[in-house]
Amino acid sequence: MTISPEMTRWEGTLDELKHLVSPRALTGETVLLNMGPQHPSTHGVLRLLLELDGEQIVTVVPDIGYLHTGIEKNMESKRYEQAIVMTDRMDYLAPFSNNLVFCLAIEKLADIDVPERAQIIRVLVAELTRLNSHLVWLGTHALDIGAMSVLLYAFREREMILDMFEMISGQRMMGTYFRPGGVWRDITSEFLPAVEKFLDYLPGRIDEYEALLTKNPLWVDRTQGIGVITPEDAIALGLGGAILRASGVNFDVRKAVPYSGYETYDFDVPLGLHGDTYDRYIVRVEEMRQSLRIIRQAAERLTKVKGPFRTENRKFAPPPRAELGQSMEAVIHHFKLWTEGFNVPRGEVQVMVESPRGVLACYLSGDGGNKPHRVHFRTPSFVNIQAIPYAARGHLIADLVAIIGTFDPVLGDCDR
């Protein structure tokens, strides 16, 4: 057989990675194995180059970028309100968290006020998003390790959340519900009863998941002591969310740098002790209960707090339909917003929020025009996947599946 040019190209790619694997791989003492990008337990298109000594992992080299769609670059050619639509498509399990961070950045840059009712709706929807994302994480993580039934139960509950998203935004997943200065429209009449029903329903279901997993000897064996990350490593790697807190570092953006009025809600931040996969599971399940607490408080406030759901500042939010027939000024504002958008001042801001996966930060730089000069999302998956080699070193290859699951990566979030 002759060697075709394609084959030499492949050899070239291995040469590039030579400095990342141990010298033993080059002598053939250890085996290099490719995992992904199309692999059911990599949660998307994550490729891992594994160096194996028997069944033990020596090195993991993650390879990302298969889902890179240039969202940040595209945003630079879109007006601010058009660009919000693209944020949903990054982390498709937590679209409203992405909406929220981008809207908060615009609001900070342009100094837009957000009415109280809108803030409460935002908190409520953001916490529902957290539940939605954690339910998918729990189901897929358990499925990866071999507990199939949890996935079916978790997706059953997630369906109720998606129905609620549809009630408020008209869409099940990519809602684009948050807008600069508030939310797109007020909540519909069937939304709050559905939330109440859900609040009564879910705590018992979480107990059921825990009954299936928490003390299950198989689950404990597969997760305890697996993928340990020390607090020092977790901080140096910049990890966030449940992964950081399971290592015992008390950093929750909702508490540390409160946004949308989170400081007025009563909730606890669960912390882990060992930083292993089991602790991350416990922390996330407890986070779900805390989210329910926040949702209950927010739903209660929504029945009391009336008022506008979007800012009255007509330079940034369109006037209500009824005003258009009476006021020339309203027509002009409407026309300007729909043809030209709004201008934001020159300057740069960064806003952090606590997304279900960790610290989600948006850097926004304005140049005085109606389009962003530069948008950058510090997405939690991008940072967290970096920690897989640290967590997986020395473990068996079967544990790698548990480690990927526990980092809860969304590759759309990672590659943007």
Binding site: K73, G238, M352, Y363
Partner: protein, 171 residues
Amino acid sequence: MQPSDPVAALRQAFPKAVQDVIQFRGETTIIIDPPQIARVAAHLRDAEGLKYNFLVSIVGVDYLPESPRFAVDYHLHSLIFNQAVRLKVRLEEGQSVPSVTPLWSGANWQEREVYDMFGITFEGHPDLRRILMPEGWDGFPHRKDYPLGYEVVQFSFNFDEINRNKPYAKE
């Protein structure tokens, strides 16, 4: 232990490194002389009263008509004192900047992303390769002179043909 003001502390420790300070919407941006960024960041991370130990993000920006053209922003957060600061270095085309990966292992991929998108190189980075774009990609997509447009998907059978007609940023 009381938190100290990062600007005053840096002006004292590195009088020549601090080029400018910008306050905007409650955020502090300190513009640093590029060759000194790693030392300044290490000081901010370790010094008493500062302890900016959490690297939130590294962002590249292209201010095309301006000179120096590029900027790299480092967003630091102190988990101990719960305050944030932004360090900024301004770079000319082809100028490189010391890597902060030895200080924060999490900076590794973020610097690779800046390199991938803007072509800014980081001295002392252990593994400076493209990360999001394919290895053989030509040009740096986030530069302002890189065109945005529709592109035919490249497969092995039409690689050369598409490559010939590609609107590269070079000329």
